[in-house]
Symmetry: C2
Subunit: 129 residues, 2 copies
DNA sequence: CTGAATCCCTGCCGATACTG
DNA sequence: CAGTATCGGCAGGGATTCAG
């Protein structure tokens, strides 16, 4: 440990913390990018409970369309959150599981949950209009 | 006891954890919504260090345009992360500080940072093509 | 069953110009 | 100094359709 944790909660002294513009090398943005997109956290939540097949995920999230589900899963695979295992034979079945790294998102989601739980007012997302 | 928090990291037994579609009442989405948008986390980072005026933020983030900065700040104010204090007199000066709730984002950003730091490969956002 | 391809629509992002 | 108004470009999100 080179430094940090000295009275700087959430702000490590890593040089990557000093970037002046959004950068894909910033660890915070890496994580936010992995979780980016609608439905993504819900898919991760489902996979945290147990692994699913493609149609099991569709059943768990009925309002989610095929394309978006496939898109999210591909993104999560690229982000090393999800592992895709095709089972040979028929009918074709693909099992989606969380990688160890993906399972490590548990505390992250917990932190997001905790902060959101303590948000006093309902989110006035669209202002007062 | 239908469920509990024993051994369920990141998956509280809250009924809001069972939503079947993206909902603004989900604490996770509340937090992700607060941090949503490009530049947002960088603005929060700056304000975690010390409070800024509008132009101090522009100096700290030179590539950020006025409109987006004002947009992000308004969003953060709505999300109860930032407090805006207009100082009367001339020239007009507005001081932006983090609310206590906003300062509580420190551990959240730390969690995001930690997970992103442990991501092995660089983010292959656009695949290999 | 598991996706990929296509089309359309919406909302975000950024630049420029203008007001208190 | 501290924003708002407006416009355009572009990527994200979703429904439908088609393929392996």
């Amino acid at each position: 440990m080179t430094n940090q944790t000295v009275g700087r909660p959430g702000l490590p002294a890593d040089p990557r913390a000093d970037v002046a513009e959004p950068s894909t090398s910033c660890p915070v943005e890496i994580t936010l990018d992995a979780l980016r997109g609608r439905w993504t956290t819900l898919i991760v939540r489902e996979l945290l409970r147990h692994d699913h097949s493609f149609s099991e995920l569709r059943q768990a999230l009925p309002a989610l369309s095929d394309k978006v589900l496939a898109d999210r899963l591909a993104h999560l695979v690229r982000s090393q959150v999800v592992d895709r295992q095709r089972e040979p034979g028929w009918p074709p079945r693909t099992r989606y599981t969380l990688t160890p790294h993906g399972r490590a998102l548990g505390p992250v989601l917990q932190a997001l949950w905790d902060w959101g739980s303590e948000t006093p007012q309902p989110p006035a997302r669209a202002a007062t209009s």
